[in-house]
Symmetry: C2
Subunit: 216 residues, 2 copies
């Protein structure tokens, strides 16, 4: 029964996502959908990425949250366009929500849009938003066993960011086990080691992303 | 449209939850539904709670995960009955899943069942499982702003556990701001400060819980 109810929603979402994808391509905008648990450092990673790429690219951010606009305010305070979507309880962003946010942005002048999805390792994985890539963040305090428990998000990610690596001595994090299980689920995805708030490892991730933006 | 699709699922869930609640009451079993993000320390908190309460009470644990049985194995290794539910992609437990797990437990001899829900701050809040109380954990690395972003789970919790308090010096966690926003959303809920893996603060939480179990 769950499938019968879900499929029409996904079909409708995918149709609109395809339209958005075409608009992004026509305007040569590269779009990243960023997925992670609450508190894994999505906003800090976005802020660090902006710092690394803002000289070369025009960037906008779309913030998805159940409630509040604290993240959009943090982005705007850096002089970067940010649109807040409040899902009002929904556990993920859908294309229809994204379309309303995209409509207020000047796509022609943008090179990169980063979408910060709702903090959730499960629900956002099913929803195409017309993005070029989904990227996921796991933070060290969450533990190295998370690929075993939430395989879906690790499988669909084009890149995995391991954030807060500076706190590794504090937590019992087995990085080898983590890398092994990520590679089993997703042999292609690079794993970037970051401490976003300490500006550690940001350059390597930003270089990888910049190469893709230039080709959009 | 989302409401039209969701309401029949919730109604069906609530009806079965009421049946479960009656079975729990008839058998004098106290049931805790534990909600938190991935990696906030749900399993560690359960292990510490078991250690604190196992001399007085017969305990069983139900583990909800998208995939894997690593948590159930950790519980069983402590000589405690554990049933693993794999949701196969679903972002929360529902009563129908719980009923199948309950059916294999000997309710008559149990005093306490702890349900570890899927790591997710959003979806599990809507689903009554027939539990006596929902309790939520936030861990310090997730950040003090989470009540603003995920208000629902803080509102329905009968108690809030702030876990990994031993890592507070490592993170920029404003505990006063956190306490203020929790109390605004939920003036009644006590906040227990724990470092579950270090056995810090466990006694106070376990005493609070034990008092409730004795009355079941």
């Amino acid at each position: 029964m769950r499938i019968d109810l879900k499929q029409p929603i996904l079909d409708k979402n995918d149709k609109l996502a395809a339209e958005l994808r075409q608009r992004f391509a026509e305007n040569h905008v590269y779009v990243v959908d960023l997925l992670a648990s609450p508190g894994s450092g999505k906003t800090s990673t976005i802020l660090a990425t902006i710092e690394a790429l803002r000289d070369e690219f025009n960037i906008a951010v779309i913030e998805g949250d159940i409630a509040s606009s604290v993240d959009a305010e943090k982005i705007k305070s850096q002089g970067i366009a940010a649109v807040q979507i409040n899902t009002g309880g929904a556990c993920h962003l859908e294309s229809a929500m994204l379309k309303r946010a995209i409509d207020v942005l000047d796509l022609e002048r943008l090179d990169l849009i980063i979408i910060e999805n709702v903090g959730n390792l499960v629900c956002p994985t099913d929803f195409d938003l017309g993005e070029n890539i989904k990227v996921m963040i796991l933070s060290v305090p969450e533990g190295h066993d998370k690929p075993l428990k939430y395989p879906g998000v690790f499988q669909i990610a084009e890149a995995v960011i391991l954030n807060k690596v500076d706190t590794m001595p504090v937590f019992d994090f087995d990085e080898e086990a983590f890398n092994d299980s990520v590679h089993q689920l997703n042999p292609q995805a690079p794993i970037f080691r970051l401490a976003a708030t300490k500006d550690q490892g940001v350059a390597e991730w930003a270089d990888w992303l910049a190469e893709r933006i230039r080709q959009a």
